[in-house]
């Protein structure tokens, strides 16, 4: 037995002297599946899985019954029942997610601990949410049925008009086709999966061609007892709303034994306390201000940010916290987490804390900690035994220096890491561990910490499609986590995000399966056994999944892991990055060899072809980085040049835009732009003069930063990339609203979302009778240290999108004939 928290209570008995239990004989069923009369739906699903795969293996259909049938020789009991008790079966006492398989005499019992969460008595309709959300800007009319009965029930229960956003029993989405909560701990299903694996089935990928199913006319199992307990009780995946509808994808995760042994909610729950129309009307003081009378817009725009030090808000938060625990008794831990995005602190509180703590991140962290200590103390009084999860975020990541040992013992710090995949980098791995150890030394609650993880994430259709393989690093990570973490909550991308495919006839699915399935499979195996023999697991995968191409595919994956593990930046540019141009043909050469090694149209061929197809955009990655656009000189501007909308200070380098689709000079809608670089290299200024015959009718709806609807307005869009970073995008409309985002993988890792790249872009826009002018200030420290020079130019594109008038028009300094973001067409920016 390995030194492991996995509990292998009993191995497979050779038991040659004992007769095997026959399930199928000569292609005919000689057994039946028995479940309890009141079996939970997930147990029925497990029984259906057993029935389905035995049928696929042998062609025989075995029946599912509620009690043993006279005359049927053998029984497969799925889950405990009065029938298993009659047999004298007793499940071992597990402390965590587990399964137990007992094969004896003429039966098998496949069972495990079941932690099934009841559906919430409260509910909210999309129309409720649409009306409630973003109270600072939301002007939508009240729906006729608002509040819906489920929401009204919650208000009555909670005693205040709190929202139900991010609040529930902690069992995850309810999958309608399967009629189960996706995070229910379904021990019976795990046992069935383990039993099927024992028969040779392998759940390597979801959907078509994903499962290995052996073929046999006879199925019999020798007597044995196999009991396993998971190393991690939290094995949770989400790919957002698709979890509600994707039967096959969720079934795959259940077959990989995913689920949570305990229920927690680690989410941005403060929204529920303050960010509703009702609360805004009654308690505007709950909303933090950035300056006197100016409320933070927050994220998503218009949501605001709470004032953590407001006594009323604190009281309401405690009431909310207590009511959540009252509503969902199974819930063991809850976070009254700050809103998504950067943690924003009211200017008055910030000023007060800055006097003492000097550093803005430290001051913000300490405000947040004080708020949590207040909640924890109140929770200890009303709900001893329950845990408060401390959630921080960008802008407040420091360890709170106002932490006082022994003050509270019911707070646990969950850990977040942008991507498991990036822990292949020693620097990242060391930093993650160091941060966790700092917390664990001081804030060590009564329970293990959950870990939130983006894992690996082909998050958009334009996200580079290089293979991301990190089996060794992941195993190292899971071993490192075992002493202090109870598992992971992992976000991965649904197809609509990663592939841009909405409205599939079969509903939303897990995204990028050909590229992701192996790592998801490995992660789920490591949840149960971090000490598993990785080489054995992978060798079996190559052999079973790729057949005659096993050797080449092993070479492919080994090469992919070697490339991904290079200790270089994740930002792939012409001059930097872990991926080299010569690697790309190597991937495709290996896949071509693999395809040649298997019969065309075989399942192996289809699996390899699916990977090859998913990787196709990789072929354009490096050619897309080679810019052919003309040079563009950025002149110098003083470091202290005012940002005042006076463009007279930008005397040189004015460029005329042309029609982005035809290259035609637009006489009637002329646009002139230039770029200036500060002497201290800290910022770039883009000045734009946009002539507009219809200034009165100009399209300008968005008034706040980072609203996607800005792209329905007339905007100037600036795109910049550098030898060290993939491109950044900044858009400004005539209201001066700004939208900025990063597509650079390393920056997104740091900021967690492309849109959360907020380096401090500013803009001053002035409107005249015949034109509007914009002066845009863009801090550039995130673009790296190389360039812009003739040797290391930066890519630049500046576009003007005009929505005013009868039809959409676009103009740019580097016409692409398509979207602005066709990188090879961009201009090469340099400074002398």
């Amino acid at each position: 037995m390995k030194k492991s928290s996995l509990l292998l209570l009993a191995g497979v008995f050779a038991a040659t002297s004992l007769a095997a239990v026959d399930i199928v004989k000569n292609g005919k069923a000689v057994s039946e599946i028995v479940i309890a009369a009141d079996a939970h739906t997930s147990t029925l699903r497990a029984a259906e899985d057993l029935q389905y795969f035995i049928s696929k293996i042998s062609g025989a259909k075995i029946n599912i019954v509620r009690k043993p049938t006279a005359g049927v020789a053998n029984q497969l009991y799925v889950g405990e029942s009065s029938h298993t008790r009659k047999l004298g079966y007793k499940m071992p006492k597990f402390k965590n997610s587990a399964y137990d398989i007992l094969v004896a005499k003429n039966y098998a019992v496949l069972a495990g601990p079941m932690v099934i969460v009841k559906r919430s008595p409260f509910s909210t309709l999309p129309s409720d949410t649409r009306y409630q959300r973003a109270p600072l800007t939301n002007k939508s009319p009240k729906p006729a049925n608002y509040p819906s009965p489920g929401l009204k029930k919650w208000w009555d229960f909670a005693g205040a008009p709190f929202a139900l956003r991010n609040v529930g029993p902690g069992a995850g989405n309810f999958n309608t086709p399967l009629q189960i909560h996706v995070n229910d701990d379904t021990g019976n299903w795990y046992a069935v999966s383990a039993f099927l694996e024992h028969l040779g089935v392998r759940f390597y990928a979801p959907y078509e061609d994903g499962t290995i199913i052996p073929s046999a006319k006879n199925i019999s199992v020798k007597p044995m007892r196999l009991s396993r307990e998971a190393a991690f009780g939290r094995r949770e995946w989400t790919y957002y709303s698709a979890m509600n509808v994707d039967k096959e994808g969720v079934s795959w995760l259940k077959r990989l034994k995913c689920g949570n042994h305990t229920q927690i909610i680690y989410n941005h729950a403060t929204y529920g306390v303050y960010s509703t129309r009702e609360q805004y009307a009654k308690h505007p003081e709950f909303f933090a201000e950035s300056a006197p009378g100016v409320k933070f817009s927050g994220y998503p725009a218009g949501s605001g940010s709470p004032r953590y030090n407001d006594p009323g808000f604190r009281k309401a938060s405690l009431q909310f916290l207590r009511k959540v625990f009252d509503a969902f008794p199974n819930l063991s831990a809850f976070a009254v987490g700050p809103p998504d995005g950067t943690v924003l602190i009211d200017y008055r509180d910030m000023a007060q804390y800055m006097k003492k703590y000097k550093n803005p991140d430290q001051a913000a962290a300490n405000v947040l900690w004080d708020f949590n200590v207040y909640l924890a103390k109140g929770l200890a009084e009303s709900h001893p035994g329950k845990t408060l999860l401390y959630m921080n975020g960008a802008g407040a990541r420091s360890f709170p220096t106002n932490f006082r040992p022994g003050e509270v013992d019911n707070i646990v710090k969950p850990f977040a890491q942008p991507y498991s995949a990036t822990r292949v980098l020693d620097t990242v791995n060391r930093a993650v561990i160091a941060e966790r150890q700092e917390w664990l030394k001081k804030v060590n609650g009564k329970r293990k910490s959950p870990v939130w993880d983006y894992f690996l994430y082909y998050r958009t259709p334009t996200f580079p499609r290089y293979p991301i393989i990190f089996t060794a690093s992941l195993q190292r990570e899971m071993k490192e986590m075992r002493p202090y973490a109870d598992g992971k909550f992992i976000e991965i991308s649904p197809a609509w995000m990663s592939e841009g495919k909405r409205g599939r006839p079969d509903g939303d699915r897990l995204g990028m399966v050909p590229l992701m399935h192996l790592m998801v499979y490995v992660q789920n195996k490591l949840f149960w056994d971090p000490d598993l023999d990785m080489k054995k697991l992978l060798d079996e995968y190559y052999k079973l999944y790729y057949g005659p191409a096993a050797k080449v595919m092993k070479e492919y994956y080994t090469f992919a892991e070697k490339v991904w593990s290079r200790q270089e930046s994740r930002s792939v540019t012409l001059t930097t990055g872990f991926l080299k141009e010569k690697d790309v043909p190597r991937y495709f050469e290996l896949l071509a060899r693999a395809k040649a090694a298997v019969p065309a149209n075989s399942v192996y061929f289809r699996r390899i072809a699916a990977i090859e197809k998913a990787l196709q955009p990789l072929k354009k990655l490096f050619s897309n980085l080679k810019r052919t656009g003309a040079l563009m000189r950025a002149y110098r501007v003083a470091d202290n040049a005012p940002l005042d909308g006076n463009l007279a200070k930008y005397r040189h380098g004015w460029q005329n835009m042309v029609d982005n689709n035809t290259g035609e000079f637009a006489e009637r809608l002329q646009t002139r732009v230039n770029a200036h670089f500060s002497n201290n290299r800290k910022f770039i200024r883009v000045a734009a003069i946009c002539y507009e015959p219809n200034m009165k009718g100009i399209k300008a709806v968005s008034t706040r930063n980072d609203e996607f609807k800005i792209f329905d307005d007339d905007v100037i869009e600036v795109y910049l990339d550098s030898p060290e970073r993939s491109y950044f995008k900044i858009a400004v409309n005539t209201n001066g609203a700004i939208y900025d985002e990063s597509t650079d993988v390393a920056i997104v890792d740091r900021d967690t979302l492309p849109i959360l790249w907020n380096p401090g872009c500013k803009a001053v826009v002035k409107k005249y009778a015949d034109r509007w002018e914009a002066e845009i200030h863009i801090p550039v420290s995130d673009l790296g240290k190389l360039g812009p020079s003739r040797q290391y130019p930066w890519g630049i594109q500046i576009g003007r999108t005009r929505m005013t008038g009868k039809k959409y028009r676009s103009f740019s300094i580097a016409p692409t004939g398509g979207p602005y973001r066709i990188l090879p067409k961009w201009r090469n920016l340099y400074v002398r």
Partner: protein, 289 residues
């Protein structure tokens, strides 16, 4: 932590040209701008085979206009006939007629055309061409209505705006509304980026003449002084000639015959001016007693 991020870029472009085609388009435009009409037409027609959608309509229209400007009217009409979008088709026909000086035909065919409903890129040009045709056929109020609309919608297209305003000056003057004519001229004078453009020069001198006619001699002289400030005529050129003649006319209107003659003599001695301009001036000088 469940972040729903809208990752879908709104790809609003519905017409696309690839890089090579953009260069072809720009090459044709360069020929057009250089008045090499038939070369431009040839390039547009070659491009037409590679593009589709709204760009195809535009390319065909440009080809037809280039052909008409190069006196290939039959071919121009053939190209226009292949345009399917009604507004682009009508616009192109109008431009072909305009290029060949068929203003009566334009007035006849387009007097009731709903130019406002055309694409805004061509509507203001439609008003310009129809307005000028109204002007040439002496229908001044209708000319003024169209040309004002053109000037208002021309945006940053100062070339067309000045041409429209210049026509407006003359239309208003012909219509006996000198105050409006001066107002239009002032609008032109404010567009300082086009001080060498013939319509700009004509507008300034026209303003001086109108003011002299109104006996506002000081204003007329100031207009001429402002017009001349900072210019280096290098002793010649037709617009220097016109400027001197206008100065002479303003002096003569005030009864300053000697001063007028001096201006006229300087005008007659300017270089690079066709004899056809000088002969009427010589006749005028003879008539001054």
């Amino acid at each position: 932590m469940k972040k729903l991020w809208l990752s879908v870029f709104a790809c609003l472009c519905f017409i696309h040209l690839n890089g090579g085609t953009i260069k072809d388009f720009q090459a044709a435009q360069n020929e057009f701008r250089s008045s090499r009409w038939l070369k431009a037409a040839e390039k547009y027609l070659a491009l037409e085979k590679k593009v589709k959608g709204p760009v195809k309509e535009k390319v065909l229209s440009y080809a037809a206009i280039a052909l008409a400007s190069g006196r290939k009217v039959k071919e121009a009409n053939a190209a226009a006939a292949r345009i399917t979008a009604p507004d682009w088709k009508a616009y192109t026909t109008l431009r072909i007629l305009s290029a060949t000086g068929k203003h009566r035909q334009i007035v006849k065919d387009f007097a009731s055309a709903d130019i406002n409903s055309w694409s805004e890129d061509i509507a203001y040009l439609g008003f310009f061409n129809r307005g000028r045709s109204f002007f040439y056929t002496r229908q001044y109020p209708r000319a003024i209505a169209d040309l004002e609309k053109c000037a208002a919608d021309a945006g940053s297209d100062n070339t067309v705006k000045i041409l429209a305003l210049n026509s407006l000056i003359h239309a208003a003057w012909q219509n006996k509304n000198t105050a409006a004519a001066v107002k239009y001229a002032d609008q032109v004078i404010r567009i300082t980026s086009h001080r060498g453009f013939h319509a700009y020069l004509d507008s300034c001198l026209s303003k001086a003449r109108i003011l002299a006619q109104e006996k506002k001699f000081a204003d007329a002289e100031k207009t001429l002084a402002d017009f001349n400030r900072g210019r280096n005529w290098k002793g010649g050129g037709v617009w220097y000639f016109h400027y001197l003649v206008t100065c002479g006319d303003v002096a003569l209107a005030q009864g300053k015959k000697a001063q007028a003659k001096e201006f006229y003599n300087r005008a007659l001695s300017t270089k690079n001016v066709a004899a056809g301009f000088k002969k009427p001036l010589q006749n005028k000088m003879k008539s001054i007693k």
